[in-house]
Every structure is written in C-alpha cells, then in structure tokens.
Symmetry: C2
Subunit: 407 residues, 2 copies
C-alpha cells in the first residue's frame, strides 16, 4: 500500500471553547511520520451522542460507546488508527474498556467519562501496550492550536490522504457558539450508517436527547448520503460532544434550531470530504435525485447510481455514458416510469421521454475533465422527495490500493 | 477499448437436430474480424420460452420477445451485437419488429415465428440497413459445423474475450436428446434477472408451459447467481427453443425431469463462463453460502460478498482478508448471529465464534494465486437453505476497459 498524502485544506477551523486535542505516533502504523493515537478532551463534563454502524458485525468500540450514549459527564474520546478492534470477540470488548481506562488514568478523569474509537485492520487484537504508552504521550501534548488539531485528525486516518476538518459558528441565546468536526474515511465507505469515524465538538450546552436527535437527523442527511465503495464498515461511528463552555443553559427553540443547522453544515462538509478523498478518486460524484415518492426512494436510486462500477468508471473516463446512469436507476428496486425520467449531466440534458436527446458529447466530456465534481441530476417526476448523495469515481488506483493492502 | 481475445474452449458442443446457425460481420462493430449479426434457425416449428431482465429500463427486443413467449411455432432468433436497441422509445420497438421481419423474409418463415436479441451500446438507434444486409449474408451461411457455431456465438459478443458454449445430452422417452447453449456477458452483469443474452436449443419436444417453467427454474439457480459488477442490464434475455426434431411427443414425467437437469447443467456452465470472462478478471469467485433460513437470504449474503469491491480486490491481490468478507455478510441486510458465522477460504478455516482463527496466511495466499477459482464458504447456521454464486475479481483492467469504452 502506498498512499500519497495531500496537504490539509486550509483554513484550519478553530476548536470550540473548553476542548483540547492532540495526536501522536505510537507504533500501530509502520510509518513513524503517521499519527495513530489521538485524544479529544473536554475541560467540562460534556453531553455526548453517537450514531453507529448498522452492520451486524460491529466492532468492540462501537459496542462500548453505544452502551454509554446518549448521556452526560463525558470528558474524553480516545482514538486509535491502524487496528479496528473488530471481530475480536470478548477480548476485544475488554481491550476497548482497557483503552478507556488508560485514557481516564492519564487524564485524571472518571473512567465512565471516556469514549473510544478504533479504525484499521479488522481481526487483530489491540496492541494495548503501545496504545497505553501512546495515550500517555498524547496526554502531555494537548492543545488548541492548528498543530494540535491536525495531529489529532491525522491520528484517526487510515488510507485518507489528508485530515478532514470542518467548522462553523452560530448564535444562540444571544451567545456566539462554535462547532468543529473531524472525520476519517476513504474506503469501506457505504451508506446505511454513520459513515466511518467522525467527532463533532461544540461549546454549546445541549440536553442529551436533543444532541442525539439532532445528530441522527444530520447523519441521515449527510454521512448516510455518501459512499465510496458501498461497503458498510464494522466501525462507523459519529460522536457529538457538547460541553457548554460558551455559557448558558441547554439550548432550546431557535437556539437549538441554529445549532442543528450548523451541525448539518459541518457534517455535510465532512461527508463531501470523505467522497472527495475516496481511495484513488479523481472525481467527486454529486448525485441529485428529485421527484421521488419518498426520501428513501430517492436515496435508493442515488445509491444505486453512485455505487455502479460502470457509472463510476464512465465518469473516471470523462464519458457522458448516460445509458449506464439510466439503467442503474432502473435496477435500483424503486418503481418509477422510465418515460418520465429526466437526466442531466453537468447541467446538460441527456435523456428524457425514454429516448436519447441530441447533445454535444465532446463538450460534456470536457466539462467532466475540467472539474473535480461531476453533477448527475435525475428527475423522476413521481413525488416531492429529493436527496443529495456524494460518491467518488472508480479508478485503477483504487484497485491497486485495495489489492495490495494486505492483512 | 481494447479486448484481447482468448481461444474458444474446446470441445465445441454439437447442435441439436434440426437447428442451423451462423454469424457474420455486418459493420455494427468497427473491427471487421468481429461478427455482429447471428441467426439461429430451427427447421421445425419450435416451442419457445424466455426469461428477461427485471430492470424497469428494458430494451425494445426484450419488450418484443416478452410479448411472444412462451409459445409455439418459432423458427428463428435474429441477434445483433454492437447496439442494444435500448432507451430508444417507440422507434426502437419499430426497429425490433423490422429486424424480425427482415429475418422472416430472408429465411422464408412466418414473421410471427422470429425472436430478436440485441446487445451493445445503449441509446442509439439500430442501423437497420446494416442489419438487413447482414441477415441476408448470414442466411446464406447457415450450418451445423464448429465454424457455424463459433461464428454464431461470436456474433452476440461485446467485450467477451471468447464465445461461451455449453452442451449436454440426455435420455428421455427412450430417445437420445441433445441440448446446446450459447451466451454472452462480461460486464453490466448483475443478479436479479436472467443475466445477459443466452440461447438454449434442444431437439426435445416440450409444451410451452413446461419450457417456461423449467427455464425459469434453471435461471433462478444459474444465471441469477452470477455477477460481474452488480449492474443489471437493460437487455438480459435467455431464450429456450425446443423443436422436437429428436422425435416423439412433448416430454412428461421422468423425461421432462431429465431435460430439466440437463438444462440446469448447461445454464450453470454458461453462468460460470460469464463470471470467468468478467471484464479484466483474473479470478472466478465461487461463493457458497449455507445454513440460511431461506434461499433468498443465502443469495442476498452471497451477492453482497460477491459484489463488494473490497472483497473483489482482496482476491485479486491474493489476500486472505477475511474481515472484508465477514463485514460484507454483516451489511447484506440479512439477519444472522455473527457469533455463529463460519468462514472458509479455499478450504481453510479463517473465522468462527466471532473471532479470528490462527491460520497460515501465506499458504492461503498461495492457494489463491495458484488457481483461477477462489472458493469462499460462509456457513450461517440459521436454517437449511444454501446457494452457489459466481463472480469475478476486480482489477485495474476492468477500470481501464470501462473508463475507455466510450459512447
């Protein structure tokens, strides 16, 4: 496996008040320049919510965190990459608890206030010695500057080429609040879940039930609308920590609404980043499906188009091969009238009334080559529901990365 | 697009009595050494049955044949490659009928006795002039020898590297019968249908209802258990023609049963050939899922494993990456207990009781490298149902072929 790193996208979003982070190399990854342990620490007890993979085969840290969230009193998230602690049975559960205990001891916080995230190879036991030593190192480096943020985000990366960060601010109850997100994910990214790992931090105060509901709603619109290869991971987790450091009581009404919108924005930016950094990707596919009876119908059509290897390779080849797109919609399992289907590619009409439409194929091909993002718009004309779905193209580089990423 | 042809697999199975075939180049494909028109002619009126794509976006020849089968009195199938006559609206339906009329005129058979098959580019109108001229040429070359059979089978190929043929013989009502099959398919091959194009010929006499039922049953066990890229085509069709030239009345009882078994054998051989010739494939994946509550559950798990790009690239890389296989089963949508799941790869136990099992990874990797076929066995321990499913690995060559196969 050889991943070419790309620079982190600037600017680095600021951390919300009362959070400190860091990452370090602890020897789980072979390359000593790659961070593999991170800590996220809240100086105040925080409300935490979580959304987790729907895969029946879920990892030990998923089981550990799912039992604890939503809730209050959280002080830290301990994160490792290089090892997923998945398919590791009862010992895996013990190891996840041991990782949380090690973080609690290093940070002098209650063990019940720690959550854990792991990502990497499936089916190997956590190297607890390295993880404990790494946590000790990271605990001594916690900070709030760009370097702290970037090393923390890098500590959750596997085949990602760059950290994925997003931030936003919002006014609620007359107070300025900050929201920060970081995520990882470049393959084994499929829909039907909270894709891969994500940590969202805010200095807003939130009731646990509100945090959980809004995180679920944001995930449905963002992380559940992204796919690189359709393969739902064992470890997908998105955590939200809200520590109230901006002051005030838990948000309600308009303030809660403002937070919810900022949360969707931060999650959507991370979701798009995951598709953009899809393994080997040369294009982001933005699939917009409209006019469906239900949002689930729209998602199912979008997912089928976005996951079709034939559509993904056509976009890689800058080929306006609309037959592949229309036929993918046709086998999605959603009932619709093909004669009412309308397809536009980068804004150009390619198909309607069940028939080909004359268009300038060279010009559309050039438009695909010219931009990182390709826009596929499918109008179904059967109802009011729509969806936006992100994916990436399929390249020989994806195959090389995954044929050579050995267990 | 550049396809490297490979030799046809020997021996060439014999045609059943009373059938003649041929293929020729008529200018639909650019390369003049590639046949693109074929005819299958029965000297006696034959019973015909058909199984068709479940894609909502289905091609004109599918609509044409579906309206005529099952039935009796069939004399010919006219086939073209290079153009799928799909997404071509009302004009496409007229063109399919014109193709059938041209074959009827050239062969001096009733127009109602002709079926049509098309495969190739979606969304372009059939070049009827070339097709009519080609049919005229092929009608003058009909024969029963190996050359006639191979050119007929090549006339239905698109990115296939070789013709796919199968044959079997069986005794029924004291008479020896012959069964012959030919198929095409190398991409846009997904389950939930009769995969791609197939024509099965027999000199047995069959009632239309029996022909239809047995073809459906055989398809369910064979063509519906193969996938190259999970993309269900607009043109998938399998036709069965039974002309009774072996003599006797329509088969019943034990004779019909013998025919049914021969049909399954012939279809399975063709289905496996399609996976084997999957675009860019270096391995055939044979996924055997057992112990499911229902056969649909088993198919769903097998299909999810077989279509996962991560599983397909792992096999290409000769990597016994069982985490990818187990996690694919986990997101298949079928409910099962992961702690009861048992995985074997090429006969070696890799996973059981929810935990990794020590195994010799180098030896398993060598076994993948040493054989064209890789056997993935998943035992679910939830019930009596099982399935065998064929797929192919995912290679950089698949990406090259499909990124460069321009509309």
């Amino acid at each position: 496996m050889s991943i070419t790193e790309t620079p982190v996208r600037l600017p680095i979003p600021p951390l919300p008040k009362g959070f400190r982070v860091a990452g370090a190399h602890a020897g789980l990854k072979r390359n000593p320049t790659r961070e593999d342990i991170s800590l996220v620490v809240s100086d105040l007890p925080a409300t935490a919510a979580g959304v987790y993979t729907t895969n029946l085969v879920f990892a030990a840290p998923v089981a550990f965190d799912r039992a604890r969230t939503p809730g209050t009193g959280f002080r830290a998230v301990a994160i490792n990459s290089g090892n997923a602690n998945a398919c590791t049975g009862a010992r895996g559960l013990d190891d996840a608890a041991a990782m949380a205990s090690a973080a609690a001891a290093s940070l002098a916080v209650p063990e019940a206030g720690v959550l854990v995230l792991s990502t990497g190879i499936i089916g190997e036991f956590l190297p607890l010695g390295k993880i404990k030593a790494g946590i000790e190192i990271v605990a001594g480096r916690l900070g709030t500057d760009a370097d702290a943020v970037v090393t923390a985000a890098r500590g959750m990366m596997t085949t990602d080429t760059r950290p994925k960060l997003s931030g936003s601010s919002f006014q609620a109850a007359g107070v300025a609040h900050t929201l920060f997100g970081m995520a990882k994910g470049a393959a084994m990214v499929g829909p039907r879940m909270a894709t891969m790992l994500g940590v969202i931090l805010t200095d807003a105060a939130l009731a646990p039930a509100d945090a959980q509901r809004l995180l679920g709603e944001a995930t449905e619109q963002t992380f559940n609308c992204v796919s690189v290869d359709g393969h739902t991971s064992t470890n997908d987790t998105v955590l939200l920590l809200a520590n109230g450091a901006a002051g005030g009581t838990p948000l309600t009404g308009k303030g809660l609404e403002a937070f919810g919108q900022a949360l969707v924005d931060a999650c959507e930016a991370l979701a798009r980043e995951i598709a953009d950094d899809g393994e080997g990707a040369t294009h982001v596919l933005r699939v917009e499906v409209s006019g469906c009876r239900t949002r689930d119908d729209a998602r199912q059509i979008a997912r089928t188009v976005a996951d079709s290897p034939l559509v993904k390779t056509a976009i890689h080849g800058a080929d306006p091969n609309w037959g592949r797109i229309v036929s993918a919609a046709g086998y999605s399992g959603v009932a619709f009238d093909p004669d009412k289907l309308v397809l536009r590619l980068n804004g150009t009409l390619l198909f309607e009334h069940g028939q080909p439409v004359p268009f300038d194929a060279d010009r559309v091909s050039e438009s695909i080559k010219a931009a990182r993002e390709t826009l596929i718009e499918l109008a179904v004309h059967a109802g009011p529901a729509s969806i936006r779905f992100y994916s990436s193209d399929l390249t020989a580089e994806y195959v090389h990365l995954n044929a050579d990423y050995h267990t």
